[in-house]
Symmetry: C2
Subunit: 139 residues, 2 copies
């Protein structure tokens, strides 16, 4: 539940990006980022005003990973109360279609997680609960 | 999973609008609407290009019901393959704050469903599965 109705609402997008073997890309946030340094995350970010959610997600994935992806479906949604906004976070499924993985300064480590390791990876907080729930759903 | 990658992606928004006793507003689609005539639905609609998801939802609720609401949280998301687009549907929680209920021509019947009746109401398809899943989650 969003605690503070005075905060603006925003939309964010993340993706479960899979490679050709079904492994999911996880990124570790750099020490220098303002929020959640060293936390494992999925690629994605905030939808800018006037931007569509899919364009925003493709832009963020390109910026953060150098990869091109195709969006293949919806994984779910979660909510998150950020310092300056209440965010609805839409999580999409994506398939890697090209590009070469290179991280931006926002992240310092990556991992391609086989499906069997996804549920035990060290995602935390809202994202940890989302991934745990996602892994329990029937495929 | 979205079957046809050639279709454009779109974003839609719906709301579980509650009254002061916690009842949820359901609307029945008119006989004359193109898609799903006579199906029970939640208020909401498509986010227009350049529009934010929360502005779109408040606009749709106002147009369809005459009610003012406050958005209080996220209920979840579902995906839907429409004839002309693949849609991600974000479902928000909302609290009725004012206005008087009057339906637009898009709907011909409404019901305020007490929490105990929500899971057994005649929602169908994707929305039926979403509501069933929502009602099973811990509050």
């Amino acid at each position: 539940m969003w605690g503070n109705a005075e905060k603006p609402l925003g939309l964010a997008v993340k993706a479960l990006v899979r490679d050709e073997r079904g492994a999911v890309l996880a990124l570790r946030r750099s020490r220098t980022v303002h929020q959640f340094p060293q936390a494992w995350d999925l690629p994605g970010g905030t939808v800018e005003p006037g931007e569509s959610f899919d364009a925003a997600l493709l832009r963020e994935i390109q910026e953060e990973t150098g990869l091109q992806v195709a969006l293949t479906g919806l994984a779910g949604a979660m909510e998150y109360e950020a310092p300056a906004a209440r965010l609805a976070v839409l999580v999409l499924k994506a398939r890697c279609t090209g590009g070469e993985l290179r991280l931006s300064p926002e992240h310092d480590l990556f991992a391609w997680l086989p499906p069997t390791r996804l549920s035990s990876w060290d995602f935390r907080g809202q994202l940890g609960r989302f991934i745990a729930d996602y892994c329990q759903r029937p495929a």
